[in-house]
């Protein structure tokens, strides 16, 4: 009988998995573990450690102060302001991108002449660097010479130019729009892959049974696509939550902090004010919120998968 060359063995009676003593195999894992440890585990732990200290690079302060940073943080209106904007941005962009991405994927899954070209064209926004996208939308939505203002005036939607990202009420929606433009292709790509795993025989069968396209979508494709949809939305939500470059380049958090998000606030605290302790507390809270979002989606997804199995 061949000996299983795994790092664990399962106890037949209890079903518990025990680590197997295989020095050679564990030794081979050292480079991978070392790389993960130094670039991902260590920084997280260091951030956590710093968040309990008052380390400031511009002063000799460097002492353990317990949870004072967190107390200060929860009483900080700037933090709650940024937290609210981040949640708004994440919710709005994830929702819009999922819906638009689904619509695009449904069109691009059909067979038609020139489909390959349209699929390639769809990916252009995603291929442009975010900083360039930011500058591009800055120019498109320019308050004086922007094309968007001109077109909106031309079609009679507005009478005077809107100062899109220079006014507190329009700045965040403008950033959401830029993000939707940039990231919808990514969602469409994931959902297109999801749609292609659904056997065409199922929709054909539904069509023979007399289901119209609308019913075919909601009764056959949508339930089967739900796991892909949830995974794509989760990736997008986690990614949107740490939005930085679009905001930093387009508005820098302004005007009047109306687009300040957690990443830009953390950056300012860490690298402009050099408050490493307080900044680390901020990033730790961000990290925890990310975990909550991931677990939320995960639970929803597991439930969904169980329903599909039953």
């Amino acid at each position: 009988m061949p000996v299983a060359r795994t790092l664990t063995h399962v106890d037949v009676e209890s079903g518990i998995r025990f680590p197997r003593w295989r020095p050679g195999a564990w030794l081979l894992l050292v480079p991978a573990l070392g790389a993960i440890g130094t670039v991902s585990v260590y920084p997280v732990l260091l951030g956590l450690w710093l968040s309990f200290r008052n380390t400031t690079l511009s002063s000799p302060d460097d002492a353990f102060i317990g949870v004072s940073n967190y107390q200060q943080l929860f009483a900080d209106s700037q933090f709650w302001n940024a937290w609210g904007h981040t949640i708004e941005f994440t919710g709005a962009s994830t929702l819009l991108e999922t819906m638009l991405g689904l619509a695009m994927a449904l069109v691009l899954t059909e067979r038609f002449l020139g489909r390959g070209i349209v699929r390639a064209a769809m990916l252009i926004p995603w291929a442009i660097p975010t900083v360039v996208t930011s500058k591009m939308f800055g120019w498109l939505f320019d308050g004086q010479h922007g094309l968007v203002n001109y077109l909106a005036r031309f079609f009679g939607l507005i009478h005077t130019n809107i100062n899109w990202y220079g006014s507190p009420e329009f700045a965040l929606p403008t950033i959401v729009m830029a993000d939707v433009w940039k990231t919808t292709p990514f969602m469409a790509l994931l959902l297109l892959a999801g749609l292609q795993t659904i056997p065409p025989s199922l929709t054909e069968a539904a069509s023979i049974d007399g289901a119209n396209p609308w019913q075919q979508f909601w009764m056959v494709r949508f339930p089967l696509l739900a796991p892909s949809l949830l995974i794509a939305a989760m990736f997008r939500a986690l990614d949107a939550f740490r939005i930085f470059d679009l905001v930093y380049v387009l508005t820098g958090g302004g005007p009047a902090d109306s687009t300040e998000v957690l990443s830009t606030l953390t950056y300012k605290n860490l690298f402009s004010a050099l408050q490493f302790g307080y900044g680390s507390a901020l990033s730790t809270v961000m990290f925890l919120t990310e975990i909550v979002i991931a677990v939320g989606f995960g639970v929803f997804l597991l439930k969904r998968l169980q329903e599909v199995k039953l």
């Binding site: 069109v107 691009l108 038609f112 926004p125 010479h145």
Partner: protein, 99 residues
């Protein structure tokens, strides 16, 4: 038995004209292309326009007269080719390392 009484499987006959769903698919894909490529083309047009046209009263959609000043500017006055090369190195090496 005459040949006409034999039941043949009905064959789907191509309907005359273009079905509305086809039109819809092409219309939607046209919208996708405009939405995705439009801003990029506007950027391209902007890069070829004169500065005074850019801040004029009415934006020009097409770069007439064409002006290559901005391109000369980035490749001659600034060494943009060096930055492209640097990006290629970073992209190439990181792809190789992850592979």
């Amino acid at each position: 038995m005459s040949a006409s009484s034999v039941i043949r499987p009905t064959r789907r006959v191509a309907r005359p004209g273009i079905p509305i769903s086809r039109v819809l698919v092409y219309l939607c894909s046209l919208l996708i292309v405009i939405w995705s490529v439009g801003p990029f083309l506007w950027q391209l047009s902007t890069s070829l326009q004169l500065d005074r046209d850019l801040i004029g009263d009415q934006p020009k959609l097409l770069p007439i007269p064409v002006c290559f000043d901005h391109f000369i500017n980035i490749f001659v006055a600034k060494s943009f080719q060096r930055y492209i090369f640097n990006s290629l190195i970073v992209a190439g090496v990181s792809t190789l390392l992850c592979w």
